[in-house]
Structure formats: structure tokens, C-alpha cells
């Protein structure tokens, strides 16, 4: 028996999975550059969110057209992967359609896959038309040029090619066509090849088979470079997303410590620190990706750049520079840059005189946000761009004192007279007696 194909198959498989794991490890390391955040709570609710939002696609279908098409591709993608299991077994052990021993059930399975494959192709074509011909505003924003635009189309091409290879492989498999069970779609394709000799057909079938599995492995490794990473990260992302009311912004513990000290009449401002060790100076807010927490960084890797957030954003709708999607894309781009910097400098980050603030996200964008949570509500995978905007505002105000002048006036008023306007606190009840 010639073992060469099996060995080649095993080698390709190991190579493909090996690279994939290497990339996953890199993503994991980059995400862990973020600050710690406690997510060890509300486990039941978190599992439920993941089941509903990621697995159940509940937020995708809020926009019915793209939602339903997405569900088709998503189901197709998951179910057709059962076929990949057969391909792997066949490839490693030199069998041919090992699951066909299941008989009629096998026919049912493959038939389902074929119908799904055609549905996926149709959905992907509609996606392509929506993205490239319909000029939907959210696909034509400033941040959707160059790589992000190409990336989106590459994914669609990949999917069409993979599905076409799957159907071609079935259509040219004489043995499978002779079974006449499960070839519900491919039986209409196989007549196209009827004039070819069996030998040629076999070569086409083998080529399609090899290209199909190789394509899947290439696609798997493409994820790391692509917005398509969401097919994996949507699951942890929906699990770790906030379970609090959307209006609740976190209270900074470091600030609470200081405030409590200030408010404590018994505190001795000249007391020696209790511990000898110098506490690291806390930085308030975020000017770079390492200042964000790891869930925010996971958010950035999960973003699939669909732009639903941006299309719902009141600032963006009225022509301001702010785009919540760009906030997430910038965060990922900067995080990737920091990651590469660490790779090139033997595991430590070397200051590159750049940061997320100003080099990626401008102050004008940050100050345009109304904190309305429309972006958070719109995201189909529970990403929170608002929390990043707020953390960056915190840096601007508490580290740089760089708020817009009107906001400084507002804050001075609150500090001096307990209201954002210059009214005396003693006049707070005057309304009662006014006509």
C-alpha cells in the first residue's frame, strides 16, 4: 500500500493546525497585555448570553436580511464541518467516505450538506453584492478602505471556493454518484462531466478533495490576519461581556481609595505608608492598549467590522468623526503593533513613541460621544466601544487635564457649587416659591 498520500496529508494537517495554534497563542498573549478585570460572577447569566447571542445569533437577526443570510452561512459553516471530520479520517487512514457505512443516514447527511453548500453560495453572493454594488453606507466609511475592504471580500471568495470544491468533489465521485443517495445537488452537476473518462474524473475528484481540505486549513490560518476571527472569539466575547445595566460605568477603585482618604476626618495626611514597598503609581484611564482591560482587548479582536455600531451612532449619523467601529479597529491595530514590537524585542515592549491616543484615535472622536449606548446595543457580539471611549476620556481629564474648556467650566461649577451651572447651592430649593 502506498502510504505517501497519508503521510502528506498528516503533514499538511499538522502544519495547518500547528500554525493555527501558534497564532492563537499570540492572540492570547496580546489580550493578556490588558489589565485584570473580575469576570468570575454571574456565571449562569454569562452562559445564557453566550448561548443566546453567539450560538443562537439572537442579535444578528435584528436586521432581518443580513441576519437571516448570516444564519444560513453560520449553520452551513458549522454543519458542513462534520464532513471535514470524514475527510480527516479518510486522509489519515486511506479510506474513502468512511462514514458511508451509515447507509441511508449518510445519504441524508451529505444531502443536507449539499443543500447547505448551495445556500451558503447564494447567501455569500448576496453578501458580496450588498458589500460591493449596493453601496450600503456602513460598508463605505473611511475606515473601510484598503485592507479591511479586501479582507471582507477575500472571506467571501474563500467561502465560495470551498463550497464549490465540496460540490465538485461530490459530483465527480463516481462511486458516490452510483450510490444515488445524498447527491441531491451534485447529481445535477455530474452530467456536466459525463463525457470525461473515469480516470480524468478521478483526478478531478482527488484534486477537489485535496484543495478542499487544504483550503480549509489555509482559511483557518487566515483568521488570525482577518476580521473573520469573530467565528471563534464571538463565544468568549459574549461570555465575558458586561452583565450590568448598560448605563452603569465602572467606578475606579484607585480613585475610591483616594477619595475615601480625603473624606476620612481621622486620616493622617502625613502618615508613613503602611508598607515599605513603594506602590506603583496608578495611571488613571487609558492612553494605550495596555491600559485597557483584557475584555476590551478581546472585544477588539472579536470585532468583525460589520459597522452596525457606527450606523446607529448619533454622532456618526450627524457627520462627526467618531465611529465606534473605528475605535475597535484602531484598538486591534495598535494591539497588533504592540504585539509585533514585543516579538521583535525578545519578549519585552520597547517604547515606540506611539500610543492608541492621538496616533490612532483622535481627541475629536472621543469628545463626540454622547454615551448613549446605541453602539453597545447594536453589536451582535456584545462589544463595548463606549467603555474604551470613557477610559480614554478619563486619561485626558485626570492625567492631562485636557478636557474641552466648556467641560472644565462645568466641572468647576460642580466642584464649587454642586451643580454644572454657576448657581448657588443655597438656592436649590428656590423653585418651590417661584410663581
Amino acid at each position: 500500500m502506498n502510504l505517501l498520500p497519508n503521510i502528506i496529508f498528516a503533514a499538511i494537517l499538522i502544519l495547518g493546525l500547528g500554525y493555527f495554534i501558534k497564532h492563537i497563542k499570540k492572540i492570547r498573549r496580546n489580550i493578556k497585555l490588558g489589565q485584570d478585570i473580575d469576570v468570575n460572577n454571574h456565571k449562569k447569566e454569562r452562559w445564557k448570553n453566550m448561548a443566546m447571542i453567539a450560538l443562537g445569533q439572537s442579535k444578528m437577526v435584528r436586521r432581518p436580511i443580513s441576519g437571516v443570510l448570516h444564519v444560513v452561512v453560520y449553520i452551513g459553516f458549522i454543519i458542513i464541518n462534520i464532513e471535514v471530520l470524514e475527510i480527516i479520517i479518510d486522509g489519515l487512514f486511506g479510506t474513502h467516505r468512511v462514514f458511508s457505512v451509515l447507509g441511508a443516514f449518510y445519504g441524508f447527511l451529505i444531502s443536507t450538506f449539499e443543500i447547505l453548500a448551495v445556500s451558503v453560495v447564494i447567501a455569500v453572493i448576496v453578501f458580496w453584492l450588498r458589500r460591493n454594488s449596493l453601496k450600503l453606507k456602513r460598508f463605505w466609511s473611511k475606515e473601510m478602505t484598503s485592507w479591511p475592504k479586501k479582507d471582507a471580500n477575500y472571506i467571501l471568495y474563500f467561502e465560495i471556493v470551498l463550497m464549490a470544491l465540496f460540490l465538485l468533489m461530490n459530483a465527480t465521485d463516481l462511486q458516490f454518484q452510483d450510490m444515488n443517495s445524498g447527491n441531491s445537488i451534485s447529481k445535477y452537476i455530474s452530467p456536466l462531466f459525463a463525457s470525461l473518462p473515469a480516470n480524468t474524473l478521478h483526478i478531478i475528484e482527488r484534486t477537489a478533495w485535496w484543495l478542499h481540505i487544504a483550503g480549509i486549513l489555509v482559511f483557518l490560518n487566515y483568521l488570525y490576519f482577518s476580521k473573520h476571527l469573530h467565528i471563534l472569539l464571538a463565544f468568549p466575547n459574549t461570555y465575558y461581556a458586561s452583565v450590568k445595566p448598560k448605563g452603569e460605568l465602572n467606578n475606579l477603585d484607585a480613585v475610591t481609595k483616594e477619595v475615601m482618604l480625603m473624606m476620612d476626618p481621622n486620616a493622617d495626611p502625613f502618615a508613613n505608608p503602611e508598607t515599605e514597598e513603594e506602590e506603583p503609581v496608578t495611571k488613571f484611564g487609558a492612553s494605550d492598549v495596555q491600559d485597557l482591560n483584557w475584555v476590551q482587548l478581546l472585544n477588539a479582536y472579536t470585532c468583525t467590522e460589520c459597522g452596525r455600531c457606527t450606523s446607529e451612532c448619533p454622532a456618526n449619523q450627524t457627520g462627526k468623526k467618531l465611529s465606534p467601529r473605528k475605535i475597535m479597529m484602531d484598538t486591534r491595530d495598535r494591539l497588533e503593533e504592540v504585539g509585533k514590537n514585543i516579538d521583535h524585542n525578545n519578549g519585552t515592549f520597547k517604547d515606540d513613541k506611539k500610543q492608541l491616543l492621538d496616533n490612532y484615535i483622535t481627541r475629536e472622536e472621543l469628545w463626540a460621544c454622547t454615551s448613549c449606548n446605541a453602539c453597545v446595543e447594536a453589536c451582535p457580539v456584545s462589544i463595548n466601544p463606549l467603555s474604551i471611549i470613557l477610559d480614554m476620556r478619563r486619561y485626558l481629564v485626570m492625567e492631562e487635564s485636557a478636557a474641552p474648556v466648556e467641560l472644565n467650566n462645568m466641572m468647576t461649577n460642580i466642584e464649587n457649587n454642586g451643580a454644572p451651572w454657576p448657581y448657588n447651592q443655597m438656592d436649590r430649593l428656590n423653585w418651590k416659591d417661584e410663581a
Partner: protein, 263 residues
């Protein structure tokens, strides 16, 4: 119009050794802004009529810190929060009602981890509960059959999932509730949140309140109902900018209920 508003303070209640049923958190807008003061008075008239034993903090109240926090000044926010919490805890406050969704959100969600644990309700929720308990009756009056659209305040709706209480109240007025294309979870911001109220907007091609007002005008309402003093200001400005103030009024739900009964 009833002549005198009964607005007891927490200090007065304490002096008498009593506890009010609820603390009415007036808020800065409700205390100082000329438009919002009308909302405050309308709400107080309803409370007086329903014989609700409420109290205000009066001069002991201070900004919740919401605009400071959303502008990024966590220090100022927490200073305000801790001061307010100290006052309220000293009065052993249990339940708070406010007509401002920003105060509502901040006290309800952001005060607990700083030591302030209270039951907090928005005034539309409170009015709804008075209605359900039979302590308040709502009649349509001048609003019977009027087309009313409700603008969801972000900090009441998306932020805290309160969508129905204000709508239930509007329906009680025998008015026709018409929904804008963006409502409830998809409600469009008025443009004031996140401390935008206190600054000029960034450069764009339109102001957010104009965009939202246009959405409201599309459904041809007689009245745009609001549940937030800041939304009220933004929508009023929007209606003025569109020269529609003679035909379309922007009113708080509390004003609708009070005016319907000529309170």
C-alpha cells in the same frame, strides 16, 4: 391651579422624627433650569394630589456627578457621590424617585459600590405604581385624542431597560401614542448625554437634536413627550429650529398628567 406647593425637606421630617415614603431627588436641572423647574413643579403637584409623603433634600442636595463621570473626571464624580451618600445615609433614605434619568442611572447603578444602596425609580415608574395602587387617577383632559410620540431617554431606556412605564402613562391619557422609526432599544439620542449638554458639538453636518427632531416630525405628533430634562431642552430647541413651536409642544410626562387635570 393649587396655590401652594407642599415641599417638605428631609431635615423637617427628621425634626419631627418621621420618615417620608420617598425622597424626591430634584436634580440640578430640576432645581435651576427654568424649563425643568416646570417639570419639577408638575411632578410635585401630582405627589401632593396623591397625598404622597415625600421629601426633598433641598439645599443639602448636590450634583450626582453624572456629567463629571461621563466627561472622564472620576475624582469629581466620586467626591460628589460620597458626599451625597453620606447625607442620604444619615437620613436613612430607603427609596428615591427622580425625574432625571441621569440622576436615576447614577444613583441606582453607580452609588451602590460606594456605599449608597437605595431603591431608585424614575418618576414615570413611580407614577405608574401610584396608578396601579389606585392612589392616582389619570384623565385625558385636553390631551384626549392627541397624537403623542415618546422620545426614549438613553439613560432610562437602553441604559436601564425602562420602556413601558412612560408609554403606559401616555396611553392612560386617551391619547394616540405614535412611535418614531427609532424607538425603545433603537431610540436615537437627543445629543445631550455624556456631558455633551455642556459643550458645543464636534464638527459634523448636523446637530443630533435636529436629526432626532426630524424623526419626531415624521410621525406628525401634536406633542413630543419626554422623560428627561435634558432631552426636553434638546427637543424643544430642535422644534424651534424647525419653526414648529406653534404647533408642536415638547412636554414631560409629569406635565402631561398634571395639565390634563388642571393641577
Amino acid at each position: 391651579m393649587s396655590d401652594v406647593l407642599k415641599v417638605p425637606t428631609m431635615a423637617q421630617f427628621m425634626a419631627e422624627g418621621k420618615q417620608p415614603e420617598v425622597l424626591f431627588w430634584t436634580g440640578c436641572a430640576g432645581s435651576f433650569d427654568d424649563r425643568a423647574k416646570k417639570i419639577t413643579k408638575a411632578f410635585v403637584k401630582i405627589l401632593n394630589k396623591a397625598k404622597v409623603e415625600f421629601a426633598v433634600l433641598g439645599t443639602e442636595e448636590s450634583c450626582t456627578g453624572d456629567p463629571a463621570k461621563r466627561a472622564g473626571n472620576e475624582f469629581l464624580f466620586q467626591m460628589q457621590a460620597v458626599t451625597n451618600i453620606e447625607v442620604m445615609n444619615a437620613y436613612e433614605v430607603k427609596k428615591i424617585v427622580t425625574a432625571c434619568p441621569h440622576c436615576f442611572n447614577t444613583i441606582k447603578n453607580e452609588y451602590p459600590s460606594l456605599g449608597g444602596n437605595y431603591e431608585v425609580v424614575h418618576h414615570t415608574q413611580f407614577l405608574k405604581s401610584l396608578l396601579d395602587e389606585g392612589r392616582l387617577t389619570i384623565e385625558g383632559g385636553q390631551f384626549k385624542g392627541k397624537r403623542i410620540t415618546f422620545h426614549d431617554p438613553c439613560y432610562l431606556g437602553r441604559a436601564n431597560n425602562v420602556y413601558e412605564a412612560p408609554r403606559d402613562l401616555i396611553k392612560k391619557l386617551d391619547a394616540e401614542l405614535v412611535e418614531m422609526k427609532n424607538c425603545r432599544k433603537k431610540g436615537l439620542c437627543c445629543g445631550a448625554g455624556g456631558a455633551q449638554m455642556f459643550k458645543e458639538p464636534e464638527q459634523g453636518n448636523k446637530d443630533v437634536n435636529i436629526e432626532r427632531t426630524e424623526q419626531a416630525l415624521e410621525v406628525q405628533p401634536n406633542i413630543i413627550a419626554a422623560g428627561c430634562p435634558f432631552c426636553n431642552t434638546m427637543m424643544t430647541d430642535g422644534v424651534k429650529a424647525k419653526n414648529k413651536e406653534a404647533h408642536i409642544k415638547v412636554m414631560d410626562i409629569a406635565e402631561l398628567i398634571a395639565n390634563a387635570q388642571d393641577l
